[in-house]
């Protein structure tokens, strides 16, 4: 039994399936909005509130499994490839920590650093770094909901498991645009601190609407007549990320869109023009065809993909 738990800034999604790893078949996906302010900037600000929502969802799901896999991503976590000579595990961890501190420009006192060898290449290691507070807040929320974190994966790795045929996945979230690419089997993540919330704020400001009304307008009619400037900035940011990835040797021609921000009307066309790339919405791999026909899966894909990828997590 596999459970993937995507705790986002505004929503929690749970994917439940049978089997392990790539053989997992997702039978049910649940998504529920989080109360405002309960999670932000990659951290769970109010674990009790989030735990209550998760508990309610698990009770609706009606499964006995208590173990789940959740994820962390930018800006609180990073994953990168490092080449290291033969050395002891302790020395390797020290080396990885020094590298993380060099990249952060400060002492990584509350940063959890883990290394794992890339299969088939003895000198290549994946180095993951995550803010201790972000990791603890997630596991704490799960513990309060009566669950246990089997693992905490990196968002990029989970998304690339959900969309294994994709050259790259562009995640347009509320406050972040993230591009995940997989050159040579190692996920590379580029991100920018802007997202759908910027368009909502612009619509609200231009039309004098409160946040909820501006969000409803954005979802229903897009950026027609308001928020066009912010929309253009987001397209430009996303295009910059794609070009940046190309400069790093990732020939991106086709990109899978993910995140609720990718549903904004006109975004796909603008992005295709801006970055010269073909954009698609793809059915997440592993989602049961019996339980979720193609039309339903395509509508939900932008929201459920990460939870589905997490449910397909497998210990190596």
């Amino acid at each position: 039994m596999a459970i993937g738990m995507d705790i986002g800034s505004t929503r929690v999604r749970i994917a439940h399936g049978h089997g392990t790893g790539q053989a997992t078949v997702i039978e049910a996906v649940l998504a529920r909005d989080l109360p405002a302010g309960s999670a932000a900037d990659g951290e769970v600000a109010d674990p009790d509130l989030v735990a209550t929502v998760i508990e309610d969802m698990m009770s609706e799901l009606g499964v006995r499994a208590r173990e789940c896999v959740c994820a962390v991503g930018p800006p609180v976590a990073s994953l990168r490839l490092m080449q290291l000579p033969r050395m002891s595990a302790i020395d390797r961890e020290r080396a990885a920590r020094i590298d993380v501190e060099r990249r952060l420009g400060r002492a990584a006192s509350d940063v959890v650093v883990r290394t794992t060898r890339v299969e088939g290449s003895p000198d290549n290691y994946l180095v993951g770094a995550v803010a201790g507070k972000a990791l603890r807040s997630r596991t704490d929320a799960l513990r309060r909901a009566g669950l246990r974190a089997r693992a905490v994966d990196f968002e990029g790795a989970a998304l690339l498991r959900a969309f294994p045929r994709a050259e790259a996945v562009l995640d347009i979230g509320m406050a972040r645009i993230t591009l995940h690419v997989l050159p040579n089997g190692v996920p590379t993540t580029l991100w920018s601190a802007t997202g759908g919330a910027a368009i909502t704020a612009a619509i609200g400001e231009e039309l004098g609407l409160e946040e909820r009304a501006a969000e409803a307008r954005k979802r229903s009619i897009g950026v027609v007549g308001a928020g066009e400037g912010a929309f253009g900035e987001i397209v430009a940011e996303a295009s910059t990320l794609i070009r940046s990835a190309r400069r790093r040797g990732c020939p991106i021609e086709r990109i899978v869109l993910f995140g609720n921000g990718s549903r904004i009307g006109g975004l796909r066309v603008a992005l295709e023009r801006g970055a010269d790339v073909r954009t698609v919405m793809e059915r997440p791999t592993g989602l049961s065809t019996g339980a979720y026909p193609d039309d339903v899966a395509m509508v939900g894909a932008a929201d459920w993909g990460l939870a589905i990828g997490l449910a397909r997590w497998e210990r190596r």
């Binding site: 790893g21 790539q22 962390v72 976590a77 994953l79 002891s88 595990a89 302790i90 959890v112 883990r114 290394t115 794992t116 060898r117 994946l126 993951g128 995550v130 990791l135 596991t139 974190a149 693992a151 905490v152 994966d153 990196f154 790795a157 690339l160 498991r161 294994p164 997989l182 089997g185 190692v186 996920p187 397909r312 997590w313 497998e314 210990r315 190596r316």
Partner: protein, 182 residues
């Protein structure tokens, strides 16, 4: 497919970390001795723990049996008390039955031995003695009745009271005497 875990180290890393801790040669014997003692103590502890668990299970089972036996014993005691009560009841019933026949015999004797000019007003069983109240015209008839009854089905008789009934014009005497049961 890449699958990372920020929460746990991979097993290979854990093994490498264990291998990294090497024991100095001069402490090897002590370390081996300590490890051996630990293993022996561990095995002993496991055996004792297993036995303790068995003993706990036996105690639990015996406690349940003890409770059941106590319940059965209480039941038996109740039944014994019932049998005892029934025995007492039987004795009482027998006494009542036998006393009924004795009383009947006494009544027959009273009727036979009482002179014709004596009328009995009341008979009371007073703790084994029979109190007789009656009326007659002659005091001698009372004496005759007492004499006849004494020594037959009754014990000794004692005259308690004799008085003339004034409201009957002084023609009648009221008397009372008691006779013991034999």
């Amino acid at each position: 497919m890449i699958a990372f875990d920020f929460l746990h180290d991979p097993r290979t890393v854990l093994l490498e970390r264990l291998r990294a801790y090497r024991v100095p040669r001069r402490l090897a014997t002590a370390a081996i001795a300590l490890a051996t003692v630990t293993v022996v103590v561990g095995v002993g502890w496991s055996v004792e723990r297993s036995r303790a668990l068995d003993a706990e299970r036996s105690v639990r089972r015996l406690r349940v049996e003890d409770t059941a036996l106590r319940a059965r014993l209480a039941g038996e005691k109740l039944e014994a008390a019932e049998v005892s009560d029934l025995g007492a009841l039987d004795g009482r019933l027998r006494a009542i039955a036998s006393s009924g026949s004795r009383f009947r015999a006494r009544m027959v004797a009273l009727a036979k031995e009482m002179p014709r000019d004596v009328w009995l007003v009341s008979l009371t069983d007073d703790g084994g003695r029979l109190a007789v109240v009656g009326r007659t015209q002659r005091l001698a008839s009372v004496a005759t009745a007492m004499t006849r009854l004494s020594g037959k089905r009754f014990g000794w008789a004692s005259l308690d009271h004799v008085a003339r009934l004034e409201r009957q014009g002084g023609a009648l005497l009221e008397f009372s005497f008691s006779i013991g049961a034999r």
